[in-house]
Amino acid sequence: MRIEGHAICLPADIDTDMIIAGRYLRTKDHSVWTRHVFEDLDPGIAARLEGAVIVAGKNFGCGSSREQAPVALKEAGVRGIIAPSFARIFFRNAINIGLPLAEADILCSDGDKLVVDYYAGKVFAPGISRDIRPLSHRMLRILAAGGLVPFWRQK
């Protein structure tokens, strides 16, 4: 499995309230989440997420268990997220909804072209590559299926 996209760089400790605030959760209309994603961090980010790979500092997705956070990112067009570490509930949620994550420490700039190659176990940015921490076999299968729901339905 391989993903690519343009980099959007974010700091460490991005919490789920920053990704999608609690005031927007009570709805089944997912477009509410994609419209307000990252609003409290920087309202300008949402429009740039289509085709993006987020490159963040450590502990991305800390805070609540709200699955609306990875759903908002995926449905806003984010292709994957690279960070040195993720909060564990966010990590599981993202895999479960088919949003690829890669644990790696890589420096790049906004707009850089990035590639994550899970088979090679590497992330590539202009002029550099870094190893990614391997995902478990099960997580890779869930991601390859597009999330736990399609994975489950295949069984």
């Binding site: 949620n93 479960n96 339905r153």
Partner: protein, 404 residues
């Protein structure tokens, strides 16, 4: 020797295991997406409804027709599928599970990050998202990577106006917001025996603020007595003295009243350094500090006096509110000028009642002070109950009585 997580999950740290879930629960905030995802799984099956709980606590009673419709659907599903249901006003999900439901040695999954609270009983309790929970609904099972364990050694007794919340903020600050990521925390040492069940629940509640998967105490005589009051006879769990890859030590005598300053839970300052900061609201409640001991302690400090700032009290459950009414705590709170909410947790996440406005400052006994969490442009300081009470009386951050 195995850690408590390894004993309960029957494996070794690093193993991926599939395990039956003894109890699983959602609230009104996460239940809707869980239900939607469960339907998408397409099996139409609920594996073990008697182990599943739907507990309304985030926006209760419903604040508008959208919320009411979502809750209506979730309520109907719970009833028609035979799940346990606690409707609006019953209390906060973690507290309801702590009132004689969660037991030592159980594997518990909750669709809320603060499910780790229940580790106070010697259970392996952890938060999951909606999709994991939907799969638990359908199969009764989930997978875990058995975590490595960080040992947190406690000695001595709390004193000088400090309480369990101050210890909790102190260890979050020591570990940092990701110091426990992918790990379980075990609270051990001779200092544990002096901590009440309510205190242990507060301490475990904040473990996720370090990123930890679980925060746990071994069930002991305190646990046995507490659960005995609910009619359970439990066996104590003895530590096998595991070798922890990481250890931290806290002498409870050294714990002082502290406050986590916005916008991070791991950035603490002694209360005396922040004295005089003007407050617009004090909020006492949540799954962290809305229990009877908390309300009672607050009432003892404000009894016969008047609060000088908007003060909101959210009892964590109906049983707690009822007990507070019976013992005179509730009249004391009302006479002091406090506003009492129905048992729930809406203000903590800025979802329902107690929302703060731009530029407003709230001192809260909750567990998160992230930017804009209780309201756009507002700031949240986190403290113990005693600090909140002393501060409510002066309308500004103040040292709790008894502090030196």
């Amino acid at each position: 020797m195995p850690s408590l997580s390894e004993l309960i999950l029957s494996g070794i740290a690093g193993d991926y295991v599939d395990r039956p879930v003894d109890r699983a629960y959602v609230h009104d905030g996460t239940g809707v997406l869980t239900l939607e995802t469960w339907r998408a799984l397409g099996t139409g099956e609920i594996a073990a409804p008697s182990r599943l709980y739907v507990l309304f606590d985030h926006i209760i009673p419903a604040n508008n027709s959208t919320t009411a419709d979502l809750q209506h659907e979730l309520r109907d599903f719970a009833v028609s599928s035979g799940l346990h249901l606690s409707d609006s006003g019953g209390g906060i999900c973690h507290q309801l599970m702590a009132e004689g439901v969660a037991l030592p040695g159980e594997v518990i999954a909750g669709a809320d990050s603060h499910t780790c609270t229940l580790g106070a009983f010697g259970a392996f309790a952890t938060g999951v998202g909606a999709t994991d929970m939907a799969a638990i609904f359908a199969s009764g099972m989930t997978w875990f990577r058995i975590p490595e364990t960080i040992g947190i050694f406690l000695s001595g007794n709390l004193c000088g106006g400090a309480e369990a919340k101050d210890l909790a903020l102190a260890y979050v600050a020591r570990l940092g917001m990701d110091g426990g990521t992918y790990h379980a925390l075990e609270f051990v040492g001779e200092g544990v025996s002096s901590l009440s069940m309510d205190s242990r629940l507060t301490i475990c509640n904040l473990s996720v603020e370090t990123g930890a998967k679980a925060g746990m105490f071994y069930a002991d005589s305190v646990t046995r007595e507490y659960l005995g009051s609910f009619g359970h006879e439990i066996k104590v769990q003895n530590s096998l003295d595991p070798t922890y890859p990481q250890e931290y030590s806290f002498d409870l005598e050294d714990i002082e009243p502290v406050i986590a300053v916005p916008p991070r839970v791991d950035t603490i300052r002694p209360v005396h350094e922040l004295e005089g900061i003007s407050l617009d609201q004090v909020f006492v409640g949540t799954c962290t500090n809305g229990r009877y001991e908390d309300l009672s302690r607050f009432a003892a400090i404000v009894r016969g006096k008047k609060v000088k700032v908007r003060t909101i009290i959210g009892p964590a459950s109906r049983e707690i509110l009822l007990l507070a009414a019976r013992t005179g705590v509730l009249p004391d709170l009302l006479a002091a000028g406090c506003t009492i909410l129905p048992p729930g947790c809406g203000p903590c996440l800025g979802a329902h009642m107690g929302v703060i406005g731009e530029g407003e400052v709230c001192l809260s006994t909750s567990n998160r002070n992230f930017r804009n969490r209780m309201g756009v442009g507002g700031e949240i300081y986190l403290s113990s109950v005693a600090t909140a009470a002393a501060s409510a009386l002066r309308g500004e951050i103040s040292m709790p009585g008894g502090a030196t």
